[in-house]
């Protein structure tokens, strides 16, 4: 019998495993670098979200200035058409508390849109031309560190887990101990995974607490992150078990990473885009503008007939005067919107089908799946973007009805009426 309780042995083993890990320069460096990158990514994400929130917060005073600038002038003529034409109304998509972790679509799609009661389609897709440079690699955020860099750190820490003992000449001696080397490798792997997960997730959890994020969503992301790292740890350990050298393992794992995290998702997205063709938003803008411009070349009555047929609630409006009247102008804008409605529906359906295909891809390619889960929980994916568009459309309908009630009833629009205009709200 030993002179120390056997129960103490397990604690000693964990202590020595930790000591061995921290005394290995590569491992210590990898863990420190992981922590630094994770902290940097969380700070960058929080910074970006704070700047988006600040931009949204600046809307109210800027809006008051804008309306103030046109209100005095409008008040003189009391013309509701001019009021509707010259006044912009802000909409915004405030970032969720977890948006800092996965900036997602917020990087490339507008989160502030100032709309007028004019044709919506030309306005809503105006920012639809993505910055290709940003869209390709994605922003440096927690999701990027987890999905793309996380596996590299797993490879750095795990590639020699088994082969390293063989190369150091200890494998046979360890295997000859009671319990063999499997327990040692398993324990060592668990420790590395735990430390890597902690260095990666701790800054994220701190950021989530700072942002006041929902606890369940935060823990779900932590669980997804650990599961993703564990997946890579399992692959790395498996590769490491096959008797090759550590260098050969590292090279093979780097190739697997390149294929599964970069090449395969890119090729899959190209395939999805080829299989599900979707027009660009800019094409809808062009089609809508063509329809709008066409209205100048056809009799005004034809436009009004079309408009009243679709919107009988305004059909009792007085006839158009011989001179220009804004209700005709706004009517042909709306007719223009409605002329491209089928294109808009097809565009949205196409985007949704692509999104579904990408989500299905996530079951095969973990990097895609994890990114999809993170952007969903952060409210920064395509679904969130389309949801924002829905809210803009609903608001625009209210805006149109508000101004139409003045234009189509020939009611004067005074300075005080600006205060009655519907206001956009996030919910």
């Amino acid at each position: 019998m030993g002179d120390t309780p056997v129960g103490d042995a397990l604690m000693r083993i964990w202590m020595y495993e930790a000591r061995l890990l921290m005394r290995s320069r590569l491992a210590a460096f990898a863990l420190i670098l992981m922590a630094v990158l994770s902290i940097a990514a969380v700070i960058a994400g929080l910074w970006e979200v704070a700047s988006q929130r600040a931009a949204i917060a600046r809307i109210a005073p800027a809006q008051a200035d804008d309306i103030g600038a046109v209100a005095d002038w409008i008040d003189k003529a009391k013309d509701p058409g001019s009021a509707a034409y010259y006044s912009f109304h802000p909409t915004w998509d405030a970032p969720s508390p977890l948006a800092f972790a996965a900036i997602g679509m917020r990087d490339v799609a507008p989160y502030i849109l100032r709309v007028r009661a004019l044709g919506l389609e030309a306005q809503i897709y105006d920012g639809d031309v993505y910055n290709a440079e940003l869209a390709l690699p994605g922003r440096f955020d927690f999701a990027f560190v987890l999905v793309f860099l996380g596996p590299l750190f797993v490879i750095a820490l795990f590639h020699d887990l088994v082969s390293g003992e063989r190369e150091a000449g200890r494998a046979r001696m360890l295997a000859a101990l009671p319990g063999g080397s499997r327990h040692i490798i398993w324990r060592r792997g668990m420790l590395r995974l735990a430390l890597l997960s902690t260095t990666l997730a701790a800054p994220f959890v701190a950021g989530a607490i700072w942002s006041g994020a929902d606890g369940v969503a935060t823990l779900t992301i932590v669980a997804v992150a650990i599961a993703y790292l564990a997946f890579w740890a399992a692959i790395t350990t498996l590769v490491s078990w096959f008797g090759r050298s550590s260098v050969a393992n590292a090279a093979m794992l780097a190739a697997i990473w390149l294929m599964t995290a970069l090449i395969a998702p890119t090729l899959a997205h190209v395939a999805i885009n080829q299989t599900i063709p979707v027009d660009q938003g800019a094409e809808i803008v062009l089609a809508q503008r063509e329809q709008v411009n066409r209205a100048w070349d056809i009799p005004r009555e034809e436009t009004m007939r079309q408009f009243y047929a679709a919107h009988p609630e305004w059909a009792d409006s007085p006839p158009l005067p011989a001179t220009f009247h804004y209700k005709w102008y706004f009517a042909f804008h709306q007719v223009g919107d409605e002329a491209v409605a089928a294109k808009v529906r097809a565009y949205r359906a196409g985007l949704e089908r692509r999104s579904q295909a990408a989500a299905a891809l996530g079951w095969i390619l973990p990097s895609v799946g994890v990114q999809a889960i993170l952007t969903r929980l952060a409210g920064t994916d395509l679904i969130a973007q389309l949801d924002y568009q829905d809210r803009v459309r609903a608001y625009h309908r209210r805006l149109r009805n508000f101004y139409y009630a003045y234009m189509f009833r020939d009611r004067p629009f005074g300075k005080a009426d600006f205060g009655k205009a519907p206001r956009f709200s996030q919910d």
Binding site: T4, A9, R12, Y16, L20, R23, A168, A176, L177, G180
Partner: protein, 243 residues
């Protein structure tokens, strides 16, 4: 009437093959508690495979292998609890000191000991005091071996398996090792040593077996004040040399 204790290591008519190649072909030997058996043989004679079989790494096709009465092919963990194994090149953890290595390996073996006990064992193994808390980075093979033997002593196992323990050691280190092996034997441990080093075997072994083509071709036992006939053994091991 006193009876001889049963041997700690038993190999009886063991046949073991890797694929088509039969490495052990009817190997039989036994090592009693408190004795040293030196297994000599050329390259490919089956020395390392014998150790693998005793550790449960390789399973024989037929025959009996017992370590303290346990068949390592059936209960490898139980068998390994009875065995301390020192590979040819004792590789320990460079980032840990001699005391830390011992402490870690003892904990892994399920036999934790206090620092004082470990230091006593390192001292008994001949490791100088200044090396106790040094990291193993600069240790010689002999020093590493002393650490590993200290661990084996502290595990208090009945069987010690040594794989080429003196290869690469200078004469002084070999002498140190031999004294240590004898001390371990005198505690009642059965030692099986596979080696090329005939002189070391002659110095410490109680019995020497010559392994050839997977079986014991000849076995000699130490007897009398000279223990072994060195010339005869050398001729047997190395073959006649024309001068």
């Amino acid at each position: 009437m006193p009876t001889n204790p049963p041997p700690s290591i038993v190999l009886e008519d063991v046949i073991l093959a890797y694929g088509e190649h039969r490495v052990l072909d009817g190997l039989s030997l036994s090592v009693a508690p408190g004795s040293i058996y030196a297994l000599l043989g050329g390259n490919g004679a089956g020395k390392s495979t014998t150790l693998s079989a005793l550790l449960g790494f390789a399973k024989p096709e037929s025959g009996t292998i017992l370590v303290s009465g346990i068949d390592p092919a059936i209960a490898p963990d139980d068998a390994r609890r009875q065995v301390a194994y020192l590979p040819e090149n004792v590789a320990l953890y460079e980032h840990l000191s001699a005391v830390e290595n011992s402490d870690y390996l003892l904990a892994l073996s399920g036999s934790p000991r206090s620092r004082d006990t470990i230091i006593t064992a390192l001292d008994a193994a001949g490791l100088q005091e200044r090396a106790w808390d040094q990291r193993l980075g600069g240790f010689s093979k002999g020093m590493r071996q002393k650490v590993a033997i200290a661990v084996a002593l502290l595990r208090e196992v009945p069987v010690l398996l040594l794989d080429e323990p003196t290869s690469g050691l200078d004469p002084r280190a070999t002498g140190d090792f031999n004294r240590l092996a004898i001390a371990v034997r005198d505690r009642g441990t059965a030692i099986l040593m596979v080696t090329h080093d005939l002189l070391s075997a002659i110095d410490i072994a109680d019995r020497i077996g010559f392994l050839d083509a997977g079986r014991i071709a000849e076995e000699v036992e130490a007897a009398g004040p000279d223990r072994f006939d060195i010339r005869a053994l050398h001729a047997r091991f190395a073959g006649p040399v024309a001068v």
